[in-house]
């Protein structure tokens, strides 16, 4: 392995420590927002893609990435944001989905016909992250952060967040 490859591998490893400030069980790797890590003219270039256009956590995550790399000895860091191809919840890692569920947030279903504008369409069947029942209902399409919707379990009666497919 050449020096660049070793550095890039090290950088990927470090980013496993950088958490999403709003859903702290997820790392930036779990979210699938890191598109590439390259070395360009001796600078470490991290290419990230935003989850939601207006998500305020993106700035915090960029800062978190920079801090973590600086603390681990990287000096010249450039964080580049690309919009295309647009981020999708399908890029979230499998372990990320498991962590979300353990944290009490229903992980996103795979992107499917559900993401259409038709009103009162058949709702997605979302599994309750607490008791695993599919007997749940949507309370609101919009939740505490841009990425979540509010659901309620009809079996265990607990309300819960669903990380919506996007």
């Amino acid at each position: 392995m050449d020096a660049d490859t070793i550095q890039i591998k090290a950088a990927w490893k470090i980013l496993e420590q950088v958490a999403d400030p709003e859903v702290p069980v997820l790392t930036v790797i779990d979210l699938g927002i890191i598109r590439h890590i390259d070395i360009v003219e001796h600078r470490l270039q991290i290419t990230i893609t935003p989850t939601y256009t207006g998500c305020p956590a993106m700035d915090v995550m960029s800062m978190g990435i920079r801090m973590a790399l600086l603390e681990n000895g990287f000096k010249h860091i450039e964080i580049k944001q690309v919009l295309s191809p647009a981020w999708t919840t399908d890029w979230m890692s499998e372990s990320g989905k498991q962590k979300l569920k353990a944290y009490g947030i229903a992980p996103p279903n795979t992107t499917q016909a559900v993401c259409t504008p038709q009103s009162f369409q058949q709702e997605e069947s979302i599994q309750c992250p607490l008791c695993n029942s599919y007997h749940t209902q949507l309370i609101s399409q919009f939740g505490s952060t841009a990425c979540k919707a509010l659901y309620k379990c009809d079996d265990c009666k607990e309300p819960f967040d669903y990380f919506k497919c996007h």
Binding site: P50, T53, G54, V82, L83, P117, S140, L150
Partner: protein, 253 residues
């Protein structure tokens, strides 16, 4: 260069639409009819603000020099804003807010879907990202139009009033401004007038489920926002939005 000028104007038009409607909707923050809907309308505001930022950042790159997203949002005057008149109208009651969001989301959904195929890669990238969010806005606002229109006598009457208040601002959405025609001729965009038929079908379908009538006599359509001629309401929004930067120019915290 005319080419870039028109593209800059158009990008600002898209940004201004998103920023002004975002600001309007955010007036509901803490005042929504129920908690979940307060959260929903402010989530929509946040999405729109994000779109505005993306477009302003791109416009700033096209303009070059010291242009920045903040200067474009905070340092321009009323007559430089290119948003549609629809976006700046007062929030009114919940019916007015819902109807405006529905009309606008239905328009934005079609527009962004079209823009996602633009030959301008940055506009296409912003649009294909944003259309996913707008899909949720359109669903949510359609459901509310139906709930209110087909609800009680009171909610139905309020929706009818809202249609009367806002319909005159819908014509402008599909009337291209000179800068739009210019970049359309250059093949960068396909053109808003092509979206009108599908838009009206969307409106009609939801209205019919909501037991609301589509205005048959479309009457006089107000225009001018896209070229900087606004209703009195824009000045008041800007007075609030730009206050801090006007008092302490370039302040940061």
């Amino acid at each position: 260069m005319l080419h870039t000028d028109s593209l800059i104007h158009y990008t600002l038009h898209l940004a201004d639409n998103a920023l002004i409607l975002s600001q309007r909707n955010s007036e509901w923050c803490g005042h929504g009819p129920v908690l979940e809907q307060d959260i929903a309308i402010t989530n929509i505001s946040l999405d729109l603000l994000g779109q505005a930022r993306n477009f302003y950042q791109y416009a700033a790159i096209l303009i070059g020099g010291t242009a920045s997203e903040d200067k474009l949002a905070y340092h321009r005057n009323e007559n430089e804003f290119k948003n549609c008149l629809l976006a700046e109208q007062p929030k009114g009651d919940w019916a007015v807010t819902i109807l405006r969001q529905f009309i606008f989301s239905a328009y934005q959904y079609l527009l962004y879907r079209q823009l996602a195929k633009s030959t301008d890669h940055q506009l296409a990238a912003i649009a294909s990202k944003a259309v996913k969010e707008v899909t949720y806005h359109l669903r949510w606002s359609s459901e509310w139009v139906i709930r209110l229109g087909d609800g009680t006598a009171e909610s139905h009457a309020r929706m009818v009033n809202a249609i009367q208040d806002l319909w005159m601002f819908t014509g402008e959405l599909f009337l291209p401004a000179p800068y739009e025609t210019e970049i359309q001729n250059q093949g960068i965009i396909t053109g808003v007038e092509k979206l009108q038929q599908e838009w009206i079908t969307t409106i009609e379908n939801t209205f019919s489920e909501a037991t609301l009538a589509l205005p048959t006599d479309t009457g006089w359509m107000q225009t001018g926002g896209k070229t900087g001629r606004h209703t009195e309401y824009l000045g008041r929004i800007l007075a609030e939005l730009q206050y801090m930067q006007r008092i302490y120019p370039n302040c940061e915290w």
